[in-house]
Every structure is written in structure tokens, then in C-alpha cells.
């Protein structure tokens, strides 16, 4: 009698405790970000600024991708552009490409920006901010280092990144020769 009562109480308290824990865990502790390190980067398709060509992430297999979300209004984005460009030049023949994703701006704005900063890496135009939403981009710049299998190896939120940081992360996604 006594035993079963204690068990009963234990079960009831346990159920309540577990229920509340699950809810709180889901809400506060669990990382619910859409894109997580060591998981596949969500696929998408976007047009490039240059020649209006379609770029699809999943078709880039075999290359490492540095996916950089930016906007011209964001000062740290502007600041890290030269470093990104430099790394692009350094690694594009070694199988890693820098890809910029511009968040919802007009061609004219981005074109003049590209020319001012002498950017040669491809810029994707996320006009509807669809991919920005898909990746749940908060503060910009946000940069994803994606390896040749399409797996996110590193996420850098905020900036500007130093050349060194970019380089270190690129070495992680260099395709094995």
C-alpha cells in the first residue's frame, strides 16, 4: 500500500517534471537553428548578379564554398570584403570558392558596390530574401564554410572576419586532392 503510493507519486511528479523539461528544453536550450554545423547545408537556387545565371548549391559538389550573406548597408560586411576577395583569389584554383549572397538590394546598388570594392567572386541576388529566411540569418555578415560534400563545417556570425580566420576555416573545407 505504502510502496504503491510512493510509486504513484513518483510517477505523477516524474511525468510533470519530464513534460516541463521537454518544453523548456525545446524553447531555451535546444539549438533550433535551420542550419547547423556538421549537417548538410540546405539547398537553394539563386541568380547571379553578373550574368543572371542560375546557381544551385547542390550542383557545387566537389568544391568548397564560402557562403557569405551581406548587404551594402552593413559596415562590417564592407570591411571584410577585401579579405574575402583576397581569399577567393588565393583558393579559387584549389577548389574553394567564395560566394556572396546579397540580401534584397537592387542591381544598381550592388553593381556599384562590386566595382568600388573590386569584387570578382560571384554574387547571388536574394531579392525576395527567401534564402536569407531559409538560413534564418540574424545579424550580418554571416558566413558558412561548406565542404565539398555540402556539409557545413563552420558558421561565423557577425564580422568583420580577419583574413586569418577566413583562411583557417577554408583549410577545413579544402577538397582532398
Amino acid at each position: 500500500m505504502n510502496r504503491s503510493r510512493t510509486w504513484m507519486r513518483l510517477i505523477i511528479l516524474g511525468v510533470i517534471f519530464v513534460g516541463i523539461s521537454v518544453a523548456l528544453y525545446n524553447a531555451f536550450i535546444k539549438d533550433t537553428a535551420a542550419v547547423q554545423a556538421n549537417e548538410l547545408a540546405p539547398d537553394f537556387i539563386l541568380k547571379t548578379l553578373e550574368d543572371n545565371q542560375e546557381f544551385q548549391l547542390s550542383k557545387q559538389a566537389g568544391k568548397g564554398i564560402v557562403l557569405n550573406f551581406w548587404g551594402t548597408w552593413c559596415a562590417p560586411c564592407r570591411e571584410e570584403m577585401p579579405a574575402l576577395e583576397k581569399m577567393h583569389q588565393e583558393f579559387k584554383d584549389k577548389g574553394v570558392e567564395v560566394i556572396g549572397v546579397n540580401i534584397g538590394e537592387s542591381d544598381v546598388t550592388v553593381e556599384s558596390f562590386r566595382d568600388t570594392y573590386h569584387i570578382s567572386f560571384p554574387i547571388l541576388m536574394d531579392r525576395k530574401r527567401e534564402i536569407t529566411q531559409l538560413y534564418e540569418i540574424g545579424p550580418i555578415p554571416t558566413t558558412y564554410f561548406i565542404d565539398s560534400d555540402g556539409v557545413v563545417k563552420k558558421i561565423v556570425i557577425g564580422g568583420p572576419m580577419a583574413e586569418k580566420t577566413i583562411k583557417e576555416n577554408i583549410t577545413q573545407i579544402l577538397p582532398q586532392q
Binding site: 505504502n2 551594402t72 548597408w73 559596415a75 556599384s112 531559409l134
Partner: protein, 542 residues
């Protein structure tokens, strides 16, 4: 655990106050007294009080205490009061960080308020924890009381000990009247007519009605628990969506985190007109009183949502004029009218002029949201847009840049290519003015006409799958409250012992009503009875 034996021979579980069989008090000092009996929970053994050994029992007992529950309620109450002294962080009227706002606006007290975390009270861990503890207390308290109460009421017998009957709050003793048997039948009939359930054992009867009202509080608690579960469910991803989307007139925009697109076919603001209100009723200050915000909205589903970023294939699924209080609803998605930026500039209407001759060369229109890189003015003249800064400012090192992607302060660099200027003539163009490149004799100038205006509507995007659970909880809770407060559990005992008839009554509320009912029934059976009402404090009042 040893059971406690009553004089009548019944063995009661430990903690029982009134014998389960005859109602006689088990504790000697209560048995000897003459104050009215405490009838709470029918004197049944409350489980929590029975065992207090293991840690589980201690936790259980903590949550099963009404005293602790009331303490928690009072703490939440006081904290909530403090939480409304200054606005919560989400309701700060000016766009300032909380760390500055409170001290700046309310001085030292504001600073303390902020430091103690009251600016975010209602989502602070300890406030939420208290609410959850009240929730646990609801479960435990209810279980702890409802089960013994249920058993006690189910087990109750018709006959009780005299001590039980004479120590009810409402009681009477009458010497057995003539023809008592038939009178008792009569009484039984009258009680039945008043919807009592009557059980009879020889010369004794127990009349009872509205027992279900005793379950009211527990049903209410169950409702509250369901409500709290609903509130917790919102924390689970996918159950609750809270987003926002700004849409220009005529624009189609993706609804964040959904496969839907929304188009605004026009946003309007209506103001009150004189005809809307009766004459002479404070009409002078009617100027600019807003009657309605409305967005003609069309909702599309993207049937090509498989690969994000690919060209959307839109299919209209819903169409609704969204006004405040009347959101667009589609499945569990809801779009609410929430914000507005009326008469925002959408496009600039420009004329290219020859400054030397004053000739108007041609007109062109710059769409601030999607400017072209080239404008053909006539066969020989084109304007190239070299740069566009939607929200112009200078960086620290005096380079032009944009503050935001919104066209709040647009600036352009234009280059006119014409027979006179084959290499182009550059100029800065701002809202309402232009600035030729320094040091050059410019040929071309610009004239501004009325710009195209658009209305931008702010739609709140919500999905709340927990809402049905919350409403269900509210419904159950109300059901319990109505049961518990608008009905009463009344019992009348009539028991004959030798030459005396003992009458006793008990109700969980409205003694006044019960008293009248007993008097009325006895009057109808023409048995004179003088009811004694034992005071709740033990003093007698007639």
C-alpha cells in the same frame, strides 16, 4: 500503518478526522467538544498528511499544501504589480536599449528596476518557474483532495452517530410526532420534488442534491492545467509562429517561414466623416480620427516550394480584406493588420533638362525599389545609373554608403550620355535636388515632379496551433467554476433514535438557502421544527 478504529467498529485509514462509517470524530478532543464539525473533505484522510517519509513524500506534501499555493499566488500577484510600475521592455515607447531607457526616464528607481530584471519580468526564469510551480500545485492538490473526497462521498451511509448529527451547523431535534412513518414518507416526497436524491433506511433518511458541484473546483483545476499545457506547447517549435511582413501596394511578398506569398492589392486608411456620427456629439475634434485600416490581400501558395530560391509558381488560395479585428485566415496561418507606412515614396518622376537652353529633353521614372541601370530618354540620349544608395549617408572616411536597404533617403549617381556629352556627364541626385560633379560646367539638369506614392502595409504573421488547447482549457475551467459556484451540494439527514428525531443539514455554501428549504419542507409536512444554526465560530445564533 495502523488503522484507527471508531467506536462503531469501523477501521479508518490514518489521518481520518470523521469516521467513514458513522461520522463520529475520531480524535478524542474533537469528540468531547460541542463546536460544529469541520466538514471539509468530509473529514477524510488527506493523502498528503498520511505519509511523510521519503523525499518524494516531502515534495508531494509541499505541492499539496494550499497554504504554499496561496503563498505562490501572492508572490506572483505582488511581482506582477511591480512589473506594471514601469513599462516592460517590449512596450518601451522610444527605440532605446533597455539598459539606457530605464535610468534615463525614471532615474535611480528605473535603474534598480532594470538591474533587478523587472523590465522583462514576465519571461524571467523565476516568474515562469513560479507559474509552473502553481501548475504542479494544481495537479497535486487536486489529486490529493479529490480522490479521498470522492471515496468518502461514495461510501457515505444513511445513518450516522448522534454526535455527528448534533454537531452539524444546521440542526434540530424534534420529539417523534404522531404518525411519524407517514409524515416521513411525506417529507421524502417533498424532498424528492425539490430534486433531492433520497435514501431511506427504516426511520432514517439522507437527502442529497448537487453533489456534482463538489467536483467543480477540481474540474476548474483540470481546465487550468490544460491551459498551462497549451501555453507550454507554444514553446515547442512549429506550434507558434510570430513573424512580420511589410508589403507595398501591388507587391507580392513571401510570408516568412511559410510556403505562402501575400499580395497587397491596396492599403487604405479611412477617417471618420461627419456622417459617421450623430450631429453635435463632439465633432469638432473629429479631424484625423482613424476609422479603419484595410489591406486588400491575396494569399498565394507556392506550389514550386521544393527548391528554395527557384522561380515561385503561385496559386491563389485565399483573398480577404484584412482590417483590424478581421485577419486573413487560411488553415492555421493568420495575417493581421498591424502597421502602416502610408504615402511612402515609391518612384521619382524626373525630367532631364538642358540647363543652358532650358529645353526639356525627356521624362523618366526611377523606381526606388527596383531602379533600372539605364533610362532611354530619346534616340540619342540615355541616362545610366551608376550608383544607388537607398538610405544615403557617409561612412567615417567620407565614402558614400547606405544606412539601410529601405529607400528612406535615396541618392543616385547618374551619367547622361548624349551627343553633347559622349563620355557622359555625372551628377549626384538626391530627393529634390541634384549636384553636378565638382569643377565641371554641367549641361544637364533635373526637374522633379510629384513622385509616385505607395502605401506600405505591415502584416503580422501568426500561427498558433496551441490555441484550440488553450480554449479547451478555458472552457473546462469555466465549466468547473459554474458547477462549483452556481450549484451547491446540500444534504439533509433525518434520523430517528427512540423518541427523538434528529434533523441536520449541511451545504458547501448558501446556508441561508438550505435553512429556508428545510423549514419549508417541514412546514409543508406540518411538523413544527425550530432550527438551530450553530455559528461558524462555534457560537450559537438563532
Amino acid at each position: 500503518m495502523n488503522n484507527v478504529k471508531c467506536e462503531c467498529g469501523h477501521a479508518n485509514p490514518v489521518g481520518t478526522v470523521l469516521c467513514e462509517a458513522c461520522g463520529n470524530p475520531l480524535l478524542e478532543e474533537i469528540k468531547q467538544g460541542d463546536s460544529p464539525l469541520d466538514m471539509r473533505y468530509e473529514g477524510a484522510a488527506r493523502r498528503s498528511q498520511t505519509y511523510n517519509k521519503s523525499i518524494i513524500d516531502k515534495v508531494w506534501n509541499f505541492f499539496s499544501s494550499v497554504k504554499i499555493a496561496v503563498y505562490m499566488i501572492v508572490i506572483v500577484l505582488v511581482a506582477s504589480i511591480v512589473g506594471t510600475i514601469f513599462p516592460q521592455e517590449v512596450y518601451i515607447p522610444v527605440p532605446k536599449p533597455a539598459s539606457i531607457f530605464y535610468e534615463e526616464t525614471y532615474g535611480f528607481i528605473g535603474k534598480i528596476y532594470y538591474l533587478l530584471g523587472f523590465h522583462n519580468l514576465f519571461s524571467s526564469w523565476w516568474y515562469v518557474l513560479l507559474l509552473l510551480m502553481i501548475g504542479i500545485s494544481l495537479v497535486v492538490c487536486s489529486l490529493d483532495r479529490m480522490i479521498p473526497l470522492y471515496k468518502a462521498l461514495k461510501k457515505q451511509k444513511v445513518k450516522h452517530s448522534i454526535n455527528f448529527l448534533t454537531r452539524q451547523r444546521l440542526k434540530a431535534e424534534v420529539s417523534v410526532p404522531a404518525e411519524w412513518g407517514s409524515k416521513l414518507d411525506q417529507l421524502q416526497g417533498f424532498l424528492k420534488k425539490r430534486r433531492y436524491d433520497v435514501r431511506r433506511e427504516g426511520d432514517s433518511l439522507l437527502a442529497e442534491k448537487g453533489r456534482f458541484s463538489r467536483w467543480g473546483p477540481y474540474i476548474n483545476h483540470i481546465g487550468l492545467i490544460i491551459f498551462l499545457i497549451g501555453a507550454l506547447m507554444r514553446l515547442v517549435p512549429g506550434y507558434y509562429l510570430d513573424q512580420y511582413v511589410w508589403v507595398k501596394d501591388g507587391e507580392t511578398k513571401k510570408v516568412p517561414e511559410t510556403p505562402y506569398y501575400v499580395k497587397s492589392e491596396g492599403f487604405t486608411i479611412d477617417f471618420y466623416e461627419k456622417e459617421d456620427l450623430p450631429e453635435g456629439a463632439g465633432l469638432d475634434n473629429l479631424q484625423g480620427v482613424i476609422k479603419q485600416y484595410q489591406t486588400k490581400a491575396v494569399l498565394y501558395e507556392n506550389v514550386n516550394a521544393g527548391l528554395p530560391g527557384s522561380e515561385p509558381k503561385l496559386q491563389e488560395v485565399a483573398r480577404h480584406d484584412i482590417i483590424v479585428n478581421h485577419p486573413l485566415k487560411y488553415n492555421d496561418l493568420q495575417l493581421f493588420q498591424s502597421g502602416q507606412r502610408p504615402k511612402a515614396i515609391a518612384a521619382l518622376n524626373m525630367t532631364l533638362v538642358n540647363e543652358k537652353t532650358g529645353d526639356k529633353i525627356g521624362k523618366f521614372k526611377i523606381d526606388l525599389y527596383n531602379p533600372q541601370s539605364e533610362y532611354k530618354i530619346n534616340d540619342t540620349t540615355t541616362i545610366k545609373m551608376l550608383e544607388y544608395y537607398p538610405d544615403f549617408e557617409f561612412t567615417k572616411d567620407k565614402k558614400p554608403t547606405t544606412k539601410s536597404p529601405n529607400p528612406d533617403n535615396p541618392a543616385f549617381v547618374l551619367n547622361v550620355i548624349s551627343p553633347q556629352t559622349p563620355n557622359g556627364e555625372k551628377a549626384w541626385l538626391f530627393l529634390g535636388s541634384y549636384l553636378p560633379a565638382p569643377g565641371t560646367e554641367n549641361i544637364f539638369g533635373y526637374e522633379f515632379s510629384m513622385p509616385d506614392l505607395t502605401n506600405i502595409t505591415g502584416l503580422m504573421v501568426r500561427k498558433d496551433k496551441s490555441l484550440p488547447v488553450i480554449y479547451f482549457g478555458c472552457f473546462i475551467s469555466m465549466l468547473g467554476l459554474v458547477m462549483g459556484f452556481y450549484w451547491q451540494h446540500r444534504r439533509i439527514w433525518i434520523q430517528t433514535e427512540r423518541s427523538l428525531v434528529y434533523v441536520a443539514g449541511h451545504t458547501n455554501k448558501n446556508w441561508f438557502g438550505l435553512k429556508n428549504e428545510v423549514l419549508d419542507v417541514f412546514k409543508k409536512a406540518s411538523i413544527p421544527v425550530s432550527l438551530v444554526e450553530h455559528g461558524k465560530d462555534g457560537k450559537k445564533v438563532d
